[in-house]
Structures are given as C-alpha cells and as structure tokens.
C-alpha cells in the first residue's frame, strides 16, 4: 500500500457494500482506507445469484432499493462497466392459494412506491410467459427489475473506488477496532494499525464481531445460498424468477446459461469456506423443473455457494451505531444485498459527509436488535412478516 494509515474514513470489508461506500466517499472528496481480508468482491458479493430486484422486499428496504436502482441505471458511468446489467423484469410466483394472498398484500402495500408492479393471473401468464409450469397459479411482475453479473460488478466497484482515490488494502485482516476520543484505531493481523474519525462496518458474514467490539450485539446466522449454472441453451427465458417463500430463483443470460439456486450449502466453522450440498442441488433441480419444465434436459455444469449473514428479522442493518458516534453499519443483508449494495454505499456516504440522507432507512437501524433508540421502527419488517409471512423472500439475489 502507499503511504498513510490515517484517513477520514476506514471501511472494514471489501464486498460490494464496503467498496461502494468507499467509492461514494472518495467521489465526495473524503480520504478512505478500505481493509479487506481477502480480495475485493470475491466473497458473497462476487458469487451471489445476480438478481437486481426491488420486488418482494420488506417495506423498510424499498426506499433504499429504489435509490440503488437509480444507481444501477447509470452503472457504467459510475464504475466503468455495466456489469452485464439488463432490465429484464422480475416475476414473483405463487404456487399455492396462500401465496396469492402474500402477493396481493405486498402488491397493495407497495402500490404507492412507484415500482409499477403488475398482478398476473394464470391467463396472463399463459399469454405472456407460457413456458412457466402449470404449478404457477399467479404472479406479480416488476418490469424495472433485472439482473447483472456479480463476479464482474463487485470487483469493479473496488477498482472504481481505487481509481477515485480510495486506498484498498487487500489481504488485511482486521483483528480489532477501538474508539477513543473520536478516533478509531483499527489493527490488522499483520501488525499494522490504521486511524480515522469514522469507521464503516461492512464485514459481511463477520460483521457481528465488529459490531460487538462496540457493544452492539447483533446475532448473525451464516446464510450459505447455493447456486448452479447450466451449459448454454437458446435464449428463451427473459425475466428473473423468484417464488413466494424464496426457495427458488432463476434467470437466463443472453449467452444462454441458466443460473438458478435455492436452499443452502454448508459452511465450515469461521465461515471462511463453504461448499454446496448434493441433497440441496437435487431438491433445487426438482423445483426448477417444476417451475420451468423446458430446462429438464439441460446439463448443470457447476454449483457454488457463498456466505452472507442473516439478521433475526431478515432485513439488513444500515445506518449509524447507537453506541459510538462515527461508526456506521452496513451488514446483515440476508442473501439479498447485491441489488442494495450501490445504494447502501451512497446512503452511508451521505450520512458520513452530510450527517443525513434523503433516503429513508429508518426501519433498518441497529437499534431494533440492541434495544433503545429507534426501537419501534424495526418493525416495519416485523410487521410485514406478521401480516404477510415471508414477504421478504429469503435466499440469495
């Protein structure tokens, strides 16, 4: 690395959240040091399914998701590549009667948001997406959603941050961070220390450890989404698919490969490595055949997993610490942080530079897990869960 170990902001974690935060801060002329244990964009951010959806999210996430979507629209200008982002629409599918109630309740709840959702019954499906299997009885369609290639997008955020002037230190494992007199001192395993008046916790599946250093105990459960890809086949399936309940997601890219996933692989202690499970691959393959029967004879050529952190209520933690001024969190994305990533970086940069953001994130604060402060807000997500179970479809996107 070059030179100084002092900056305006230190970011822990070089996933899409950390890199996007570093990029936005650098563009706002703040000096940033980003510390990444491995390489930027290679963990969950780089190996997720690649869905770019606003659809089917908890209400508390929607303003953030829509902010992110505006950034996605201009991605090439921001990071130098469009990352294969395509607006293909997203279908959320109902397989049983009770799913329809979930779709309807969400449809109503977000009607004011401007997502432009459409409600499709089976005859609409027959007309527009006749390749969907007979088990699909209804769907909602979000025409502004799409998909992108995470293994290109997430590392590109890191490279763009670097070009904008941020210092990215890869291979730097943070082992401790403390705050004293408004200065954060961050120590890495190689014996170096870094200092800044602001700290961003974007440590992914390991972010609960960082939060804990500052007295904020949020229990993260590792989530290990398992995804697979087929050989290329003629391009036929445009929209990204998800289901109520989140146990299957599906997309095809124009070069022909079908990418689909569901269920979870297994992670080793410490979550540094994960691996797919054959039983999950089998179940997911069966469900995918039910939803899109036309894929039955395609060959699967690869399966993989990544590790994210699940919060107790299924929505991420985004915003300032409740205990330590200058500390900001962006973690616990529960397997659906890829689309949000560019927006989270913009909002955290707003908060650090301006002390406020125009984007409403009041339901995503850490207070909902550690008590005090804005405790009742969490609840947007909670309430959504109560009135419409699994409104925030689990699983990677």
């Amino acid at each position: 690395m070059s030179g100084s170990r002092h900056a305006d902001v230190i970011v822990i974690g070089g996933g899409i959240i950390g890199c996007s935060t570093a990029l936005h801060l650098a563009k706002m002329h703040r000096s940033v040091i980003l510390l990444e244990r491995d390489q930027a964009g290679v963990r969950a951010s780089g190996v997720n399914f690649g869905g770019v959806r606003q659809h089917g999210r908890a209400l508390a996430e929607i303003p953030l998701s829509m902010r992110a979507r505006r950034i996605w629209a201009d991605l090439a200008n921001l990071i130098g590549t469009d990352g294969e982002f395509m607006v293909t629409g997203h279908l959320r599918l109902a397989r049983k009667e009770s799913d329809i109630a979930v779709l309807q309740s969400h449809f109503k709840a977000v009607s004011e948001c401007g997502l432009g959702l459409e409600f499709l019954d089976r005859s609409d499906i027959d007309r527009r997406f006749p390749w969907l299997g007979p088990d699909i009885i209804a769907a909602t369609h979000c025409p502004t959603d799409g998909q992108a290639n995470p293994r290109l997008v997430s590392p590109a955020f890191g490279m763009a941050a670097r070009r904008a002037g941020a210092t990215l230190v890869e291979g730097a494992e943070v082992i401790r961070a403390v705050e004293d007199g408004g200065v954060f001192t961050v120590s890495t395993r190689d014996g170096l220390t870094y200092e800044a008046p602001n700290l961003v916790n974007a440590a992914g599946a390991w972010a609960d450890t960082v939060a804990d250093w500052f007295g904020e105990r949020v229990t993260l459960k590792p989530e290990v989404p398992q995804v697979m890809v087929t050989e290329p086949a003629p391009y036929r399936y445009g929209p990204v698919l998800g289901v109520v309940g989140g146990d299957l997601y599906f997309r095809q890219i124009p070069r022909g490969n079908v990418i689909f996933g569901g269920g979870e692989g297994r992670t080793e202690p410490g979550h540094n490595r994960s691996r797919p499970l054959p039983e999950i691959a089998s179940r997911t393959a069966a469900e995918a055949c039910r939803i899109v029967p036309g894929i039955r004879n395609l060959n699967v050529i690869r399966t993989w997993t990544g590790v994210d952190g699940d919060t107790p209520d299924g929505s991420p933690v985004v915003g300032p610490s409740t205990t330590t001024p200058g500390l900001f969190h962006g973690f616990g994305f529960c397997g659906h942080g890829f689309q949000l990533g560019p927006g989270v970086g913009a909002v955290l940069a707003d908060l650090i530079v301006d002390g406020k953001s125009d984007t409403d994130i009041h339901g995503l604060g850490v207070a909902r897990f550690v008590g005090g402060g804005q405790g009742t807000a969490m609840t947007v997500a909670e309430e959504a869960h109560r009135t419409a179970p699994a409104v925030n479809d689990a699983g990677s996107d």
Binding site: Q39, P278, S282, A285, A286, A288, C289, R296
Partner: protein, 458 residues
C-alpha cells in the same frame, strides 16, 4: 458386525487390482466406472454389443498380456464384487458418492473410499487447435479402442511423452496413414535422463521399440520441434512446426495432440484431500503416503494415475497398496505380504517416472509465446490475450482470472485449458506456475442433466 462398505471409483488397472486384493480378504467392494467394461483408458475395451472385434494384441500391442491378465482377474472376481458399469460419480457428500447410473441419480454410501479415476490429456493450445479434426491423444485412442474407428485417414501426431509414440504406433498398426510424429521434447533431454529411465529397462526398451517401428515404416519422426500452428479452412489440413528454425509443413486431415497427462483429482478435492505442487510432474496432486492414504481426509485412499501420473504398471501396484492400506486401517490380519514387494517395485517406478517427466516436459515456453488471439479456453471461447489482460489488471490467482474471464468455466471445468491457462498467467506475471494456484473443483465434476440431478425429488 456388518462389513465396512468399501467403494472403488475407477475400474482401470488400479481399481481392478484393489478390488482383487479386497476380495481375496473376504470383502465385497463396490466398483464404479463410467465405462461399460473394465480396463480404464489404457486397456479400454470395445462395448460388448459392438459388432467389431480386434485382438488384444492388435489393440494393446506389447501390453496385450497385461490387459488380458487384468480382464481375467475381473472375470475371476466378478461374482464377488458389485461392479456398477456406466456409473458417473459426479459429487460426494460426507460418506456418500452421488452418481449417475443409466441416467438416474444414485447415492452410494461408503466407509472407505479408494479413488482411482485415472488421468486426462494435458493440452497446450496452438493457433488452429479448435479446428474440426483436432483431437487429444487420449481421444484418438478412445476412438480406436472403444469405438473402432480412427480420427482421420491421414493423421499427424503432436506433443511430448510416451503416449505420443504409442498412439501413433497403434494408429499405424490399425492401418491409418501416420503423416508424422512430432515431439516438442528433444532427444537431448531424453539422453540426459537415461540413467533414470534405466530403472525400468524393459519399459524404456518398449518405448524405443515403438519409435524404431515407426521409423522402419518410413513415418517421419521429428524431435525438438516448435509447434507453430494448425492450418485449415473448415477442418484441419496441415500441421506447421519449426525445426532448426525452418518451417516444416505436414499435410493431414486430423491431428492428435497431447503433452503428457493430468491426474483427475476433482473427487479427491471434493472429499477434502490436501494438495501439493509436484515439480517433476508440473501439476498439483493430492498428498498421499507411500500406500496412497490421503493426507487431509481419513478413510480416503488414492491409487493409479489419479494420484500423480505413474502409468499402468505402477497403477496396478498402487491399487494393491491402497487396498493394503484399507486392510491395515481396518486392523485385519492379512494373508500374504506382497505389499512390501509392491512398495519396492513402486520405488523403481518412481525413479523411472521422474526421469520420464523430465525427458518430456510440458512445453511451458509455448504458453509464453502463444499469440494473444489464440483461444485458450475452448468451452468459453476465452483468448490468451484476455487472460494476459486480466493479469495486467492485477489478478494473480487462477480462480480470480476464471471469475474475470470465464477461463475454465465451461463444460470441461478447466481440464483442457487449466494447465495452459496457469502457464499463460504465470508467464505474464513473471512468477512460478505453482504460485498462481489451481482451479478449484466444483460439483458436478462432469455435466449432469437437471432432471437427473432432481432424482427422487422430482
């Protein structure tokens, strides 16, 4: 107490010998292999139902006796083993193999697992290598031994190593016109390793005999050649190489190429075996003890060319030793002591093999000089230049390059492009090839139809 479940993957020389030894000690191992009949690649047999018959002598040359003895062993034990032919093992859980058998997904539990999955050709691309008519040496052999046909009428052979001469010899014996046999290795490097090769004089002599035969038939046998390109419009029409700085063009309608073999290690990796880079073999191989016990995964044993290239004779010995290790680890009294003799013989094979590897090195300098526009990964159409530019952008590890370029992401999972891809990357970075890592194995290790994967869940 019920018998421990012992499963052997691979019914080549190693797998059959391991099965034999286990049967002789009262076990009933499960033997799985992709092919319909035993023999592995080296002693591959035509399908029983095929209407063609060639003698073992015609198919296997000097090795016919060994092939016939192996088949006889299989005949002797076939009632005492559970041989599942046509079984593609594509994934492994803790104590279960996941396999495709006759299009259906099966789970096969094991307490002890012997992996003997063999090896595959090691390829170095050159301009024109994706033209129709270009095959690996192994594929050319499969065509001959399994399918009863040749890859062309007028075939040029290009590469390095014993398989180059053997395959050319087999083709010539089968009546195919061999246009030329062109080696990137020099006779000088062969001479420099004569001492090591003398550790197996009979085998070394056989190699020389193949060479002499080819020459006596008037086939051009060229050494120390520098492959430059394959020419042709819709299909391959000529091989062009440089010899002593002069262009030499060999017209042909098919090319078989290969520079030695790579161990098939994907299952071992999914099992949790530890790997180390072997400088003689110029590849990553699973770490094992003298008997083939995996370092890093208890209950796993590796035998045959899947645990580092040793050839068919060594594979038989290693099959015996792997079975021996299983018996030892089960704490069973053993009837004979031929394991010690196998260990001693294997030591001599190792000396021979090391000399062979040094005599026929993987031509890494060719990777350095490959034109940017030459396709490196043929599954995903990734060019050499794309890999170099990934290196220039700061990517220093082969899996990162895979993520950025798609190298090794296709149907073959990098079996074909992986070794050359690592060489191209290392050459561009100016580092040794082991420091760029190795492509990770991912299930399914070979393509599996979605509906078959779904299995009982469907």
């Amino acid at each position: 107490m019920s018998q421990p479940r012992i499963v052997i993957v691979g019914a080549g020389p190693a797998g059959v010998r391991a099965a034999e030894r286990l049967v002789d000690h009262g076990f009933r191992p499960i033997l799985l292999d992709e092919a319909p009949r035993v023999g592995g690649r080296i002693y591959q047999q035509a399908p029983e139902a095929a209407g063609f018959r060639r003698s073992a002598k015609a198919l296997y040359g000097f090795e016919a006796g060994k092939a016939e003895r192996l088949f006889a062993t299989h005949e002797r034990i076939r009632e005492s083993i559970e041989h599942r032919a046509g079984a593609l093992v594509f994934d492994v859980a803790d104590d279960r193999l996941i396999a495709l058998i006759e299009g259906k997904r099966h789970e096969i539990g094991f307490d002890r697992l012997i992996l003997a999955p063999g090896a595959m050709d090691r390829v170095m691309p050159l301009p024109g290598w994706t033209l129709p008519g270009v095959f690996t040496l192994g594929a050319a052999q499969i065509a001959l031994k399994h399918q009863g046909c040749a890859i062309g009428h007028h075939v040029a052979f290009l590469g390095a190593g014993p398989l180059l001469y053997l395959t050319a010899y087999q083709y010539a014996k089968a009546g195919v016109t061999v246009a030329a046999v062109v080696s990137s290795a020099s006779l000088y490097s062969l001479a420099g390793n004569l001492l090591g090769l003398a550790a197996q004089p009979a085998t070394a002599a056989k190699g020389m005999a193949y060479l002499a035969k080819l020459r006596s038939w008037g086939i051009p046998v060229i050494g120390a050649a520098r492959p430059s390109r394959l020419l042709g419009r819709d299909t391959v029409e000529a091989l062009e190489v440089l010899v002593d700085g002069r262009i030499r063009t060999t017209p042909c309608d098919a090319v078989a190429l290969g520079y030695g073999l790579n161990s098939e290690t994907q299952l071992a990796e999914l099992c949790g075996a530890r790997f180390a880079y072997d400088r003689d073999q110029q590849q990553w191989i699973p770490e094992i003890d003298a008997y083939g016990r995996s370092v890093g995964r208890e209950g796993l044993y590796l035998a045959g060319d899947g645990a580092g290239i040793g050839g068919a004779d060594a594979a038989e010995l290693r099959g015996v030793l792997a079975a021996e290790a299983v018996l030892q680890d089960l704490d069973l009294p053993r009837r004979d002591d031929n394991a010690d003799s196998a260990l001693r013989q294997l030591t001599r094979w190792r000396q021979f093999r090391g000399a062979l590897d040094r005599a026929f090195p993987f031509p890494r300098q060719l990777a350095k000089d490959l034109p940017d526009e030459t396709i490196l990964c043929r599954c995903e159409n990734v060019t050499t230049g794309e890999v170099r530019s990934a290196a220039d952008r700061g990517l220093r590890e082969i899996n990162r390059v895979k993520a950025a370029t798609r190298l090794g992401m296709g149907r073959c999972q990098g079996r074909i492009c992986g070794p050359a891809g690592a060489e191209v990357l290392a050459a561009r970075l100016g580092v040794s090839v082991d420091s760029v890592g190795r492509l990770r194995a991912q299930p399914p290790i070979k393509p599996v139809p979605i509906a078959a994967l779904a299995g009982a869940h469907e």
